[in-house]
């Protein structure tokens, strides 16, 4: 099937971004509208990916293949399966929200701000659809640049430090991945096709070294404990939109990397090292849960809660069953919506009060009832309470973990309490009670623009919580295929 949908998904936002840049700083409103139109267009071109998706096969669909650097057999290979297609949709959807959320708040360098997000959106679509390792690597590294700029230019007072730390961590991680890619190139007899690598038999030592090389790259991105520390700083300093994209999409890149590279290329090593991965995941969930509990800064709290939730995702990957893996994917999508919503919620009050300290708030419900209702819904989703998307993913991962080993399931389940504790405690302190001070008394409720963004996310969160079939149905066959692939040994 020849279609150019994936190319469109990648290049429409980037082309739009260039147009936005070209409008310059003279007419900020024009830049905003152009950015919005581009973002919506970018989302619309991804919709046929879902509607035309064949749920019955695990093969790559909407494939495109063009030669690129023929000397090294590098190609422009694109394609999606049931795992990656969802993230392209999520990414394009979140981009629209980010553009709307930054409408009034960003007053300086509007065109550049919008363009940075659009370019990033296109690059990340590229990461999710690349089937050539070099292409993947290029997109993977290139996506760092707009994020670096977003934090460094539009961030908070300590932005340069945070941007630097972000860049340093992720770059160091991906260098080892590059080594692994070159090794695989030679090992496979001169191919950079990821699908060919999946079928490549490898010895145990080679698999373990490859697994570790990929692990370092992806673990930083996820981020897994103990290489998570760049994330809270990056989140705190990033503008709201930056935090949203960082939490909703960028963190998923690492997890996606596990599914595309580590598990299928080194299945025996994955099994061998699964104990370590599960341990790291559980440590992330427990340790980070405790860290989140003491945070006084709302954004830091949500940042830590993201790490903890991603711990659930990696846990779901390495228990190697359908429930766990599908649960982890649902958790990833759900976390995309929920963390985006949480950061937007914090952004809403930050724009009004210019404080992220929990102690500065209290009784917000009295002045912002609509806001309080949305914030409540998203907090509940973050805590994994039912009827929200957060519940479905966590529930599936815990059930899957119980199937793998009761005690791992036990440990995972007990940590759910921490999630509920820190999120609801923050909500209680910020929203409930009598009006805390005169600044809170002067707050105004959501504007219609903010309401639109919140409502869109609320619909997603509830829809996935009540009726997750449309999501799980798409991934089902691909997950099944992946599990079968990982279960078979590839040893030489």
């Amino acid at each position: 099937m020849s279609s150019h949908l994936l190319s469109l998904a990648i290049w429409v936002p980037i082309a739009g971004a260039l147009v936005v840049l070209a409008t310059g700083e003279r007419n900020t409103n024009l830049s905003r509208w152009l950015a919005l139109v581009t973002a919506i267009l970018g989302f619309l071109v991804t919709l046929p990916l879902y509607s035309g998706f064949d749920h019955t096969t695990s093969d790559m669909q909407f494939s495109e293949a063009l030669p690129w650097i023929q000397r090294f057999n590098i190609g422009y290979l694109l394609g999606v399966d049931g795992i990656s297609v969802l993230f392209i949709l999520l990414n394009s959807f979140i981009t629209i929200l980010v553009v709307i959320a930054g409408w009034k708040v960003i007053e300086e360098k509007v065109a550049q701000y919008m363009a940075a997000f659009l370019i990033m959106s296109g690059l990340m679509n590229g990461i999710f659809s690349a089937l050539d390792a070099v292409l993947f690597y290029v997109f993977f590294e290139a996506s760092l640049i707009p994020m670096y700029l977003i934090i460094g230019v539009w961030g908070g007072p300590n932005r340069v430090y945070a941007a630097f730390k972000f860049f340093l961590y992720t770059l160091l991680g991906s260098l080892l991945m590059l080594v692994a890619l070159i090794y695989l190139f030679f090992e496979s007899g001169g191919s950079f096709s990821i699908l060919e690598w999946h079928a490549l038999p490898l010895g145990m030592t080679a698999q373990i070294l490859l697994f570790l090389a990929f692990l370092i790259a992806f673990a930083v991105k996820v981020p897994m404990w103990p290489v998570h520390t760049w994330l809270p700083d990056a989140h705190v300093e990033a503008p709201t939109g930056g935090s949203v994209v960082l939490a909703a999409i960028m963190l998923k890149l690492g997890a996606y990397g596990f599914l595309r590279f580590s598990l299928p290329i080194a299945p025996d090593a994955s099994h061998e090292l699964s104990g370590m991965m599960i341990t790291l995941s559980l440590i992330a969930v427990v340790y980070i849960g405790f860290v989140a509990l003491v945070q006084a800064d709302m954004k830091k709290l949500v940042a830590y809660s993201s790490i903890s939730h991603m711990g659930f995702v990696t846990l779901g990957f390495f228990i190697f069953n359908q429930l766990g893996l599908e649960g982890a994917l649902v958790q990833m999508i759900s976390h995309g919506f929920v963390s985006a919503a949480m950061f937007l919620c914090i952004g809403v009050v930050y724009d009004r009060m210019h404080s992220r300290q929990i102690a500065d708030y209290g009784g917000v419900v009295n002045t912002m009832p609509k806001y309080a209702a949305f914030f409540m819904l998203f907090s509940m989703a973050n805590a994994g309470l039912p009827a929200t998307s957060g519940f479905v993913g966590e529930f599936m991962v815990v059930l899957g973990a119980v199937k793998y080993n009761f005690w791992i399931g036990f440990a995972a389940a007990t940590t759910l309490i921490l999630g509920a504790a820190y999120t609801l405690w923050m909500y209680k302190r910020v929203v409930f009670g009598a009006v805390a001070n005169k600044h809170v008394a002067e707050l105004t409720d959501l504007s219609s623009r903010e309401l639109l963004v919140m409502a869109a996310l609320a619909v997603c969160v509830l829809w996935m919580g009540l009726y997750p079939f449309p999501v799980t149905d798409v991934m089902h066959v691909s997950v099944d295929h992946l599990l079968k692939h990982v279960a078979a040994s590839k040893l030489l």
């Binding site: 039912p386 529930f395 815990v398 059930l399 199937k403 080993n405 009761f406 609801l424 009670g433």
Partner: protein, 681 residues
């Protein structure tokens, strides 16, 4: 589904009715602040739906179980629902009690009290619907969704007056413990689905209850599943030491919600525990029964002695609910023990007592909570120390709560007596247990149950006496008014249930027969039927028996005769004289027994149980004040240490979390080295 369309099954009707509840809730959002519409229209409709649910469920008692699968839920695990006799019985409780409470709420809702009426209407009806779904759920996912939804909706109802910091604290504590309990239940299902071999997986469909019924876990895993279920459902039911949320959350909630939580929500925990231990678990060990019995006994005693010293009327009732939950667990423990020794008819007797008490407690506790609501509205006062003499101003509420008080104290001919009597009856058979120590020790427990019943009577005398009898302790009580018409109707309905359940035990036990048949394979139906509908002889006629109607007639006759005799021979001969006063001509409200004073003997006797802080006036105080605060040791022994440990843990973690890149790079490096080392080994 085709057949279902042809002739709707009972379960289809029930689902439709549950949907009606949800729609009524949503309808409340249309005009949130329109009290006339929300309270006078939607809540009575909700009551009608409740009655219909009770009716359909009642008809389904003893019928063949019905199942239905909804296209909602997880992939490969859509919602499975099932209606059998056990769920039907609890649906009868839910529907019947909800009918009363909804009518009451129709008259009770006021403007400006916390959340807008329309929103409360939504939360309330979601609460009802989620309880119904808990009872119908037939797979782990549907059960957990309904269970958490129930916790969540009731949390919102509890915190409807969130401007009060105490209520916020109570709500948070409630939600947290509910969440912890839910995780226990979830893990219990996790063990149940796997049996011994967790890895032998058929996928998600293992999480249906039908699959769990086919598993035969060995002793260790069965005990694990049972222990987790006991923990999870115990946390919801308020089993000591997981009870701390209950005396906080019940007083914080609006009265109809307290009534609903105490009367029905706690019963869903009993339902879940019965479902897991008697239906899903195919392996049962007799000693579980002894553990449950002991926990239940301790809970009952603990609850009742705390109930007797409370000075807040709703807290008093909350502790009394803990006591009743304890009694229910005592009965379940006995049933498990008997069942473990294959003495099924005795297990059926104990279970009948449990199920009967569920019905009874639901009826009288909701009645009493509604009464406190009426008192609260009339006086704006919850503290017993500031009430008194309300029987003159609020005769309807007073006389109707007298019914509830008598039932709660376990006095014949009301319903509380029957179930406690059945429970004590089952104790009388424990000497037959083929186990030396157990058959000696368990009868001792019967004495403790009797003590509990006695102190419960004491607490109820205090509740009724201090609120309604004597003289008003505050001036403004003179402005108190009786409950409105709708509130009265609701209380008459619940009071009527207390009387009916007390007078017709044979009929009730015949209905319970279907449930015990399902759980332990036998029932008391045949035995009680042979005695005729008048005489209740649960095991055989030459053992103990009880004739409630005769009892009622004798009581009425004795009462009437006394009244006549006193009037005939005593009245008219009363001399009114001012001779020496003796304090009798001047009797002020301050001379009455206070609620603290009433509890004093118990505080003395059971002082090790309480954590008391007294403030006593010295000899030269100009304005002497006496105060006593009675608290729960568990809060200090169990919960605060946990909270402190968590706090310390976070502090230590915060220390590691320095925020400097160099330190983190060191951490990362060390971790890598360790990992590489581990991989080598």
């Amino acid at each position: 589904m085709q057949d279902a369309l042809a002739a709707p099954l009972a379960i289809d009707w029930l689902l439709a009715l549950v949907l009606c509840w949800l729609l009524l809730g949503l309808a409340g959002m249309v005009a949130q602040r329109n009290l006339r519409y929300v309270a006078r229209t939607l809540f009575p409709l909700g009551a009608a739906v409740g009655l219909a649910i009770a009716g359909v469920a009642f008809a389904a008692l003893g019928e063949v179980p019905e199942t239905v699968v909804l296209p909602l839920g997880l992939p490969d695990l859509p919602f499975h629902l099932r209606l059998d006799s056990l769920s039907a019985l609890f649906l009868v409780i839910l529907g019947g009690i909800a009918a009363g409470i909804s009518i009451y709420a129709a008259g009770y809702l006021r403007k400006g009290e916390g959340t807008a009426p329309g929103l409360q209407c939504l939360q309330y009806h979601i609460f009802l619907a989620s309880m119904a779904l808990v009872l119908l759920a037939d797979d782990a996912y549907a059960f957990m969704v309904a269970w958490e939804l129930m916790a969540l909706s009731s949390f919102f109802l509890v915190t409807s007056d969130h401007r009060n910091p105490e209520i916020r604290r109570a709500g948070y504590l409630y939600l947290l413990i509910a969440h912890i309990g839910a995780i226990g239940i979830l893990l219990s299902f996790g063990v149940l689905q796997g049996g011994n071999d967790m890895a032998a997986s058929n996928g998600v469909s293992d999480y249906t209850f039908a699959h769990m019924r086919m598993m035969h876990p060995d002793g260790f895993w069965a005990t694990a599943a049972f222990g987790l279920a006991l923990f999870g459902f115990g946390a919801k039911a308020g089993l000591v030491p997981l009870h701390v949320w209950l005396p906080e959350a019940h007083p914080a909630a609006p009265s109809p919600v307290s009534a609903m939580m105490s009367a029905v929500m706690l019963k869903t925990a009993i339902y879940g525990f019965l479902r897991v231990s008697f239906d899903l678990l195919q392996t049962r060990l007799w000693w579980w029964g002894v553990v449950v019995l002991m926990l239940g006994l301790f809970t009952a005693l603990f609850g009742v002695i705390f109930s007797a010293v409370q000075t807040d009327m709703k807290r008093l009732l909350a502790y009394s609910s803990i006591e009743n939950i304890g009694l229910l667990f005592v009965g379940i423990g006995l049933a498990l023990t008997f069942d473990g020794f294959d003495m099924t008819i005795l297990a059926a007797l104990a279970l009948t007592a449990v199920l009967y008490h569920c019905l009874n407690h639901a009826a009288f506790k909701s009645l009493l909570f509604l009464a406190t609501g009426a008192v609260l509205h009339a006086t704006k006062e919850r503290s017993l120390g500031k009430l008194g003499g309300l029987i003159h101003k609020m005769p309807w509420v007073a006389w109707l709560s007298l019914l509830g008080v008598l039932a709660s104290a376990g006095l014949p001919p009301l319903n509380g007596f029957v179930s406690e009597w059945l429970l004590l009856q089952s104790f009388l058979f424990t000497p037959g247990l083929p186990h030396g120590y157990i058959n000696m020790l368990i009868p001792v427990a019967a004495a403790a149950v009797a003590l509990t019943a006695a102190i419960a009577g004491y607490a109820m005398v205090k509740f009724f006496g201090i609120i309604f009898l004597g003289q008003p302790r505050e001036e403004r009580l003179a402005e108190a008014h009786d409950a409105g018409l709708l509130e009265r109707i609701a209380m008459i309905w619940l009071g009527g249930l207390c009387v009916a359940l007390g007078i017709f035990p044979v009929f009730v036990i015949e209905q319970l027969d279907a449930v015990t048949q399902l759980l332990v394979g036998t029932g008391l139906g045949a035995a009680v039927r042979s005695g005729g509908w008048l005489l209740l002889a649960p095991v055989s006629e030459n053992r103990a028996s009880y004739e409630p109607l005769v009892f009622l007639l004798v009581i009425l006759a004795v009462g009437a005769a006394t009244f006549m005799l006193v009037r005939r021979f005593w009245h008219g001969r009363v001399r009114i004289t001012g001779a020496w006063d003796c304090g009798w001509t001047l009797q002020s409200a301050r001379m009455q027994d206070t609620s603290e004073g009433f509890g004093q003997p118990l505080r003395q006797v059971f002082s090790p149980f309480y954590r008391m802080t007294r403030e006593e006036p010295g000899s030269f105080d100009k304005a002497p004040r006496y105060s006593i605060v009675v608290e729960d040791h568990f809060w200090y022994w169990l919960y605060l240490p946990v909270a402190r440990a968590a706090d310390m843990g976070t502090r230590m973690v915060a220390f590691l979390q320095q925020g400097r890149i160099s330190v983190y790079l060191l951490y990362s490096f060390v971790t890598l080295i360790v990992l590489l080392f581990l991989i080598r080994g």
